[in-house]
């Protein structure tokens, strides 16, 4: 057994080293940074609990948290609905099905910055495609990204569009697993298409939906590239996400300690939210 253990360690070694350097060390460093003040150029100084105290009273941080929750409240349901709808459509025998599947998945793998720039153009108030189309049907142009009421929803729609392919795949896989006999049985039992969806398909996809909710929540909390590129956090700080605030603190204000504090706080918040989600869903499952 010794030899086996040795082989096992050797095999696992490279990746363990990789993890140590690129995952464990940065996390540990970040935790240490919480108690320091450092601007990357001068030597770090000890700050005690100052950063934590500042964070608790920092209005801008909590506003960013609220913004993120606003984003999630639009994005997650929208994500579920669109991904599910697309998955159901793509589950049939359509012409060019492989093409459509690839097409919907493409935005997932395109760089977020590129997509953000593209959509900035689409959303542009005067020359953007969306407003021009609206104009054709007689609707006056909407200042998507510069009106405080529409900016975050606009971003939520964009992020949904970008990621939908990924969740479509998850749902498609889930759909394959619904036994054919159940589908036929419920058809024979007298279910209309909607009833089939409601009583069979949707409940069967509960594990996938849980996954979609969890992943898009975690992802949503890390919203950064879209506000950074498209709105800079405005208008009126409505699209100012937590990670954007972290980034500004780290690289614009050069307060690494405080930025690390924000990061750790964010991780904690995500953890709490995901746990709460699991609890709720667990209860729903038990019902």
């Amino acid at each position: 057994m010794r030899a086996e253990q040795k082989t096992a360690s050797l095999m696992a070694g490279p990746y363990a080293a990789f993890l140590l350097v690129f995952a464990v060390y940065p996390i540990a460093f970040a935790l240490v940074l919480v108690f320091l003040q450092w601007d990357l150029v001068t030597a770090p100084t000890f700050a005690g609990a100052d950063n934590i105290r500042l964070l608790v009273h920092d209005g801008r941080f909590w506003r960013a948290v609220v913004n993120t929750f606003v984003f999630l409240s639009i994005h997650v349901p929208l994500q579920i609905v669109t991904a599910l709808a697309l998955a159901l459509t793509l589950n049939r025998q359509l012409v060019g099905r492989s093409f459509w599947r690839a097409a919907f998945f493409l935005p997932v793998v395109i760089s977020g910055a590129v997509v953000a720039i593209l959509w900035s153009q689409l959303y542009a108030t005067d020359v953007g495609l969306i407003n021009r189309l609206l104009l054709k049907i007689g609707v006056s142009p909407v200042p998507w990204l510069t009106d405080p009421r529409t900016a975050m929803p606009a971003i939520a729609v964009m992020v949904t569009w970008k990621n939908v392919g990924f969740y479509v795949i998850i749902y498609l896989a889930g759909l394959q697993y619904i036994p054919r006999s159940c589908q036929e049985a419920i058809e024979i039992e007298g279910a209309s298409a909607w009833q089939r969806f409601r009583y069979l398909t949707l409940p069967s996809l509960l594990p996938q939906t849980i996954l979609v909710v969890t992943l898009s929540t975690i992802n949503g909390f890390q919203l950064f590239i879209e506000p950074y590129v498209m709105t800079g956090g405005g208008p009126l700080r409505r699209t100012y996400s937590v990670v954007l605030y972290l980034y500004n603190n780290a690289f614009a204000y050069q307060k690494m300690g405080y930025a690390a504090t924000i990061g750790v706080a964010l991780a904690l918040i995500i953890g709490i939210v995901v746990l709460a989600q699991r609890r709720l869903i667990g209860k729903a499952e038990a019902l």
Binding site: A43, A124, D126, Y253
Partner: protein
């Protein structure tokens, strides 16, 4: 008091050891206690010092001396020289008679320099001087046109010529050009001999007269005449004496006090009055021809003041500014420790110039090796000089006079010499390499490459390698990463002030005002007012202020004409202009052409284009944070935010972020833009022939003084990182990057402005500035601008102001006063939490 007006005079003499000012002794016929001769030259010294430092106390001294000068003019362009202690003119002594002679020539010189230095600003002072100058000039013309040297002296004539040239540079409406040209032509004819024949090109009063070291100003005057008047033959004439006679001095290892027409040299007494003009002549040639060797020679010659003389004594006392009169000798070699006005003045003039030239400054402490040659006819082909640290300079005779055969210094390379000496080698071994990071954009990178390759050709021992930053990244990020990784270059330009503050605190950059090359360049390029905001608490300058881009209001001339308005001068006029220029051109009921685009983006640096310039235009120079105190909650900030608010509230500022890739000013969608001079090149590159634009100062709040308007200018500096192993070599390179020639390249290729004093009026840059439209106007604001505060939290403060701008101006959810108060409060919290 002279003729009823209080004047300042300069005592003629001061005897050792107590140096009390005394008057002319019996030996000279009791001329008087003070002379115009000295006062005029003293005025030139003060004027040049004021030009360098901007110190108004010095300016006032100069003005008082100039009053004396004008008081001594007799109404017809002739002057009297001496006065006695009661202020009475000595009209009798031959050295004092009313005439157009030496002292008149020097008065013209002083008055000409006054016109140049005091310039358009001090019109009141000049009012009294101009008539005097013009009378003197007319009187001078009589002599010149008769073919007579002023006072029969090349010295006096060349000093008067210097005055004419200075006045002409100040006021290019050129009544003086023809006279100056004639004067230069007359002067040029007085050179005797050539490269092979004694006296080797010397300028003498008459063919049979000896050459005197004192007042050998002809080369200086002719060189400047050649460049100012555009006649290169004058410069060639200047070089005759410089390459011929003076070259022999260098090879001989000393400067004689007189040279006979047959070439016999009289070596003593050496006087300061004799050395100074040679130094200044060399420097003028260096500037006009661009040949560095002249600057080196100037440094060698100026070394006389600092100990490179037969007595081995420093003649110039740095603490008091006194210079000893000279060295009597030959043996025993005796220093005449008296300090007369002439000595001190001439020394100051020469030292002033030499220390302002980085090339000259580095050779001030070199000494010739070996014995001085007694005969000028028989000087060696080579002469070696050694400098501090053992570096060697070898001069040899060449076709163009004297050339540099070998130069360890290679400007600033004491380190190589030290290394070689330590290694026991005699020849320079491998060259050292400096890495240089220019800005990340293609234009500046190409300028950097050109400059570096020129440098590399001239400095085989110190090679510079240019590493352009990756495009699309901000230099901030890259530099930060390099700092953390400890992989910084030797030199980097485009360092912003925000980063600099941190770097200095971390000890990451080298101090520059105490290194020979960079301190000389700082003296040459800036004055103390310009450096004041860059000095850190210890008084040091830690980054070389390289270029600045003041923001002004650029406007579309045609659109304004069509709207029937001129560029706005106050904020009310600005709002009016906004109203007049916002139009609906396609009849769909919505405005599509605007007066100005105030961006809706809230990233902190976007305020450089709206709030901050408007604020600085009214705040009288006040910025955001000063020494850790928040100072922006004032009326100017309220006004700046309010005018923007009005624009949005009244619907005349567009609520959109125009799409990428399309500049709304360039295509005529907006008629105004607050922008800096780099944009001129961008506009020219886009090639829109129908676009006619001009710039005006950013309007201030109503009721503020237009003379007290400051522009926002993003100053970029060049820094030497303390990780460098060759700080002196790096300093020399930095001095090179900021030389007039390099600055001209910056203007011409990048349409950006060097941080130079009096850039708008400096004739060396007129041509370059005129290559781009509006750049001359921009140049006016180089000194009247404010940069970002050197505060570590300045970025965050701008973020807070962006928030205030959004809330109160764009979306009007809070009042301007409240938004500003909130921003100030939060800013104070941040600063206090430090």
């Amino acid at each position: 008091m002279v003729r009823g007006r209080p004047v300042r005079v300069v005592s003629l003499y001061a005897e050792a050891p107590d140096y009390r000012p005394t008057g002319s002794p019996a030996r000279d016929g009791f001329e008087g206690i003070a002379s115009l001769d000295d006062a005029a030259r003293a005025a030139v010294v003060y004027l040049r010092e004021y030009e360098a430092t901007g110190d108004t106390v010095i300016r006032d001294e100069a003005v008082r001396l100039l009053r004396f000068v004008t008081a001594m003019e007799q109404g017809d362009g002739e002057f009297v020289n001496f006065i006695d202690s009661a202020g009475r003119l000595n009209r009798d002594a031959p050295s004092s008679r009313q005439s157009m002679s030496y002292w008149a020539a020097r008065s013209i010189w002083a008055l000409g320099e006054a016109a140049r230095v005091l310039g358009p600003q001090d019109s009141t002072v000049l009012k009294s001087m101009r008539p005097v100058l013009s009378r003197a000039v007319s009187r001078m013309a009589e002599e010149i046109d008769a073919g007579r040297l002023i006072g029969g002296s090349t010295t006096a004539t060349s000093e008067a010529l210097l005055g004419l040239l200075a006045a002409q540079r100040a006021d290019t409406a050129n009544a003086l050009v023809p006279l100056a040209t004639r004067t230069a032509r007359l002067l040029a004819a007085h050179s005797e001999g050539d490269n092979k024949t004694a006296p080797w090109g010397a300028y003498v009063d008459r063919a049979s007269a000896p050459w005197h070291a004192w007042g050998a100003r002809s080369p200086e005057a002719l060189a400047i005449a050649g460049s100012t008047l555009g006649h290169s033959e004058f410069t060639a004439s200047a070089r005759k004496e410089a390459d011929g006679l003076w070259g022999r001095f260098l090879l001989a290892g000393g400067i004689p006090s007189a040279v006979a027409p047959n070439g016999t040299a009289t070596w003593y007494p050496q006087i300061a009055y004799g050395i100074g003009p040679i130094v200044e002549g060399y420097l003028a040639l260096a500037e006009v021809t661009g040949q560095r060797r002249y600057a080196v020679f100037a440094g060698l010659a100026a070394g006389w003041f600092l100990g490179n003389n037969p007595a081995g004594v420093s003649m110039y006392d740095e603490k008091t500014g006194r210079t000893f009169d000279g060295i009597d000798g030959p043996s025993p070699v005796k220093v005449n420790r008296n300090s007369g006005a002439e000595s001190t003045i001439e020394a100051l003039l020469a030292i002033q110039k030499a220390t302002s030239n980085p090339d000259a400054a580095e050779y001030l402490h070199y000494r010739p090796v070996g014995n001085q040659s007694p005969l000028l006819a028989n000087v060696p082909e080579r002469r070696e000089y050694t400098g501090p640290g053992g570096s060697r300079l070898v001069l040899r005779r060449g076709p163009a006079g004297v050339e540099i055969a070998r130069d360890d210094q290679s400007v600033g390379n004491n380190e190589v010499a030290a290394r070689d000496a330590a290694a026991g080698s005699d020849k320079p071994s491998t060259p050292i390499t400096l890495t240089y990071w220019p800005a990340a954009n293609p234009v500046e990178t190409s300028v950097a490459n050109r400059l570096a390759s020129q440098w590399n050709q001239e400095h085989p021992d110190v090679q510079v390698r240019v590493q352009p930053l990756p495009a699309g990244r901000s230099s901030e990020e890259v530099l930060l990463a390099a700092i953390v990784a400890k992989a910084t270059p030797d030199v980097s330009s485009n360092v912003s002030s925000a980063l600099l503050a941190r770097l200095v605190r971390a000890g990451g950059v080298v101090r520059l005002d105490n290194r020979v090359a960079t301190s000389a360049r700082l003296r040459e390029r800036t004055n103390s007012a310009m450096l004041a905001s860059l000095r850190l608490p210890d008084g040091g300058i830690y980054a070389f202020p390289w270029k600045t881009n003041p923001m002004m209001l650029m406007y579309n001339v045609d659109l304004f004409k069509a709207a029937g308005i001129g560029p706005p001068r106050t904020q009310s006029e600005l709002v009016q202009a906004w109203h007049k220029l916002a139009r609906d051109t396609d009849g769909d009921g919505r405005l599509d052409h605007w007066a100005m685009w105030a961006t809706l983006k809230t990233t902190w640096y976007e305020r450089f284009y709206d709030f901050y310039p408007l604020y600085l235009a009214s705040s009288g120079g006040r910025t955001l944070v000063n020494n850790g105190k928040i100072v922006f909650d004032n009326e100017a900030a309220v006004a700046a935010l309010d005018v923007l608010r009005r624009g949005f509230a009244e619907g005349v500022l567009p609520r959109s972020n125009f799409a990428l890739g399309r500049d709304p000013f360039a295509d005529g969608t907006v008629a105004m833009k607050i922008i800096g001079p780099w944009f001129v090149k961008e506009l020219t590159d886009i090639k829109i022939p129908s676009l006619h634009y001009d710039v005006a100062p950013v309007p201030g709040a109503d009721g503020t003084d237009p003379a007290n308007r400051y522009a926002f200018a993003d100053l970029r500096s060049i820094a030497i990182f303390s990780t460098t192993r060759y700080p002196d070599a790096a300093a020399s390179f930095v001095a090179y990057l900021t030389s007039p020639a390099a600055d001209r390249m910056l203007i011409e290729e990048a349409s950006q402005l060097p941080y130079r004093r009096r850039l708008a009026t400096d004739p060396r840059f007129t041509v370059s500035l005129s290559k781009w439209p509006t750049l001359s106007t921009y140049a006016n604001y180089v000194e009247r601008s404010r940069d970002l505060d050197l505060d570590p939290d300045v970025v965050e403060i701008f973020d807070l102001l962006s928030e205030a701008y959004e809330e109160s101006a764009i979306y009007q959810t809070t009042s301007v006063k409240d938004a500003l108060a909130k921003a100030a409060r939060e800013a104070r919290n941040i600063v206090n939490a430090r």
